[in-house]
């Protein structure tokens, strides 16, 4: 049971980070490797807001979401939009280049030194055969609330409906008069904001370092592929699943193998379902 708690925590953060990645993939049509650097920016900004400016961590998280969301929009407009006509491959390589540029700038601006958030949420609740800290409840709760908020946004708002339509069929959406550019900007903002929030969460339970983006992007990509690159809800589920698999596996095999386990699961799933776990369900839903 204890490992389920841990799996939910790591899976929640991974799900938040991966869903934005998947949203960009669906609406913009390419894999954005620079998405990992958004987590790093979020982690560092959150550290500065909490540690240097003394902001409450929840307020800091909200400000980080807005700041990183806006950063995502700016980068989309000045970096990705100019190369969008050149195709997905060009955008992919542009994202790789942008990731390196961001990595370098992060080290210039925030430094190469590893930082630790103040030790927050230090109360523990003990149950019969497991315990949970306030921090773990906060992370899972926030991730859950974000997911519900995202779902309501996508299903109950006009902009959300436009996003889903564009993700399903961009050309048809354009023909139907959906403002595709406004949709694009909204997706970049939401995806980047969620990445920033995930970065703050990673900083709270771990540390803040300039390598964060590189270490996370592989897991984000794995969650996106496992869930089905075209399925936002599938990616959410896949992120949680990967987190659970990694931490539950620690009950049987040494925890040093948890990343190996995650990728073995990914490979096995892809062997039997090459489009990912939930891709088929998503196609049915769109139809």
């Amino acid at each position: 049971m204890q490992n389920i708690i841990f799996g939910l925590v790591s899976g929640s953060i991974l799900a938040l980070a991966a869903v934005g990645f998947s949203m960009i993939r669906q609406t913009e049509g390419f894999i954005n490797i620079a998405h990992g650097q958004m987590l790093t920016v979020g982690a560092f900004l959150g550290f500065i807001f909490v540690n240097s400016l003394g902001l409450n961590v929840f307020v800091a998280g909200l400000v980080v979401m807005i700041a990183v969301g806006l950063l995502g929009v700016v980068l989309a407009l000045i970096v990705f939009e100019p190369v969008s006509a050149n195709g997905a491959l060009a955008q992919l390589f542009t994202s790789i280049g942008l990731a390196y540029v961001m990595y370098g700038l992060i080290r210039v601006v925030f430094g190469a030194k590893v930082q630790f958030y103040p030790n927050l949420f230090g109360r523990r609740f003990d149950f019969t055969n497991f315990n949970v800290t306030v921090g773990e409840l906060v992370i899972v709760g926030l991730a859950g609330a974000s997911t519900v908020g995202l779902h309501l946004f996508l299903t109950r708002t006009r902009l959300g409906t436009w996003i889903r339509a564009t993700a399903s069929n961009p050309e048809l959406a354009r023909l139907r008069g959906i403002p595709v550019r406004r949709v694009s900007i909204s997706v970049w903002f939401v995806a980047s904001a969620l990445a920033g929030l995930a970065g703050v969460m990673l900083g709270v339970i771990g540390n803040v370092n300039s390598e964060l983006g590189w270490t996370q992007i592989l897991m984000i990509l794995a969650a996106a592929v496992l869930g089905g690159l075209g399925s936002i809800y599938g990616v959410l589920a896949a992120g949680l699943l990967l987190g659970l698999v990694m931490d539950l596996s620690a009950m049987i095999i040494p925890s040093t193998w948890r990343l190996v386990v995650a990728f073995v699961v990914l490979v096995l799933v892809l062997v039997f379902r090459p489009r990912g776990l939930f891709a088929k369900a998503e196609r049915k839903e769109a139809a």
Binding site: K113, Y117, S210, T215
Partner: protein, 432 residues
């Protein structure tokens, strides 16, 4: 469209240049395996008879060992300044070439190859355990005199003495001392939490062997983990589920800090036995974690503060950094290594690897005129005398394997938010 694309490309190139030129924390290195020069000399090509003598400083500027970098650089620069102020070596200026090993074995291999093949250094210092082990054969094959100021790995216990020397205590002793602490504190049930790296696994191996086989204690759980993970909740939970009396933690500060904060968040209180890699300011000042009052104990080779070499070095170090030297940060060791290399080159009359290597044991062990500075050593050598260099970090006598013959250890506790030596520790030889 083309104009916009051009603007984007220009923007990215500018940003790349900014990133490449910026250093965030005052370091002047480039990325993985990258090198840069310091000490004010203009780099000339190769390591021939003209121009400055280039020596490598292969160290973790980034990564787990990054906290050691500023004091290490200070110690090294003090040595370079002292050498050059006394006229350099063989009439040539000594120049430090920095290679960032990223605090990983892979980064150390890249940095070593670049320092030797591209920068043509004639000797290397600053090496850490992972780098020493990863490059051990290359060091011997390429005949590059290499001094390890901070290598604790037990793999060097009997592997050096020809082209590699270690001027700090072995982890074999560090692990033994940790077991000694456990015994003296009356612990019979200890959990182990060990990072899967050379610098951490080495002392852990010794600790476990001594604690279980020589002392008769029980390791209730032995949890290994990889560095670089976002959290270690499962590992912390597994350790404390075994209800140990103390926890032996061997890790770098990046993962060690996460573990200690996680333990504090979970409200678990225990006694900690730390590996030397955790004796860094970042751990002493970790937010929300109180390790004072002897809750955390560690041991590291101590400095002989009564030595004239130490006193001279300490004054300059304090002037440069504002802090006193700290054996936990190996700064005086970093200083000593370059004095040793410079004296060995002066004694050999050449920068040729085998000739320099042949001189090192002699200038460290004597017999000869005892000297405490480069200038004194150089003067004695030029007068045709043998020398016995006593350094700022210790007397520096080495055995046939290039290890310190009689290292002195000090116990470190956290006092007022800083690691502080609280006592000298005599090794219980019966535990070997």
């Amino acid at each position: 469209m083309r104009a916009r694309l051009r603007r984007v490309v220009i923007l990215m190139v500018i940003a790349l240049l900014v990133a490449a030129c910026g250093d965030g924390e005052g370091t002047d290195t480039t990325g993985a395996g990258g090198t840069s020069t310091t000490s004010g000399s203009v780099t000339t090509a190769g390591g021939g008879e003209e121009g400055p003598i280039k020596v490598g400083f292969m160290i973790g500027v980034t990564g787990d060992y990054a906290p050691y970098y500023p004091p290490s650089e200070a110690g090294a620069l003090i040595a370079i300044e002292e050498i050059n102020a006394a006229g350099g070596v063989l009439g040539r200026e000594f120049e430090l070439v920095i290679g960032d090993n990223l605090s990983t074995a892979e980064g150390a291999v890249q940095a070593f190859n670049k320092l030797v093949d591209v920068d043509s250094v004639v000797a290397i210092g600053g090496v850490e355990s992972d780098g020493a082990v990863a490059n051990l054969q290359s060091i011997k094959d390429r005949q590059i005199p290499t001094i390890c100021p901070a290598c604790g790995t037990d793999k060097l216990d009997e592997a050096g003495g020809d082209y590699i020397w270690r001027i700090t205590g072995s982890d074999s002793d560090g692990g033994l001392i940790a077991a000694q602490f456990a015994r003296d504190s009356g612990y019979t049930r200890v959990a182990m939490l060990v990072q899967n790296t050379e610098g951490a696994a080495g002392p852990a191996l010794v600790f476990k062997a001594v604690f279980t086989e020589m002392i008769g204690g029980e390791v209730v759980v032995d949890v290994r983990f990889e560095p670089g993970q976002a959290s270690y909740q499962a590992q912390v939970d597994e350790v404390f589920a075994a209800e140990p009396e103390a926890v032996y933690l061997a890790a770098g500060f990046e993962s060690g800090g996460i573990i200690l904060q996680e333990a504090a968040r979970r409200g678990v209180e225990t006694n900690w036995l730390f590996s030397p890699d955790l004796i860094v300011p970042e751990i002493a000042g970790l937010p929300g974690v109180d390790l004072s009052g002897g809750v955390a104990r560690a041991a590291i080779a101590a400095y002989d503060t009564s030595s004239p070499a130490y006193e001279s070095y300490a004054a300059r170090y304090e002037e440069m950094t504002g802090d006193a030297p700290s054996s936990g940060l190996y700064d005086a060791n970093q200083y000593d290594q370059y004095i040793i290399l410079a004296l060995a080159m002066a004694a050999a009359g050449t920068t040729d690897g085998p000739a320099v290597a042949a001189e090192i044991a002699g200038i460290l062990n004597g017999p000869g005129t005892v000297v405490y500075t480069y200038a004194d050593g150089l003067a004695a050598i030029e007068a045709g005398e043998d020398i016995d260099y006593h350094g700022a970090s210790s007397g520096l006598d080495v055995n046939e394997f290039g290890n310190l013959a009689s290292p002195v250890f000090g116990e470190q506790n956290i006092v007022n938010g800083a690691w502080t030596q609280v006592a000298e520790v005599a090794l219980d030889e019966s535990l070997r």
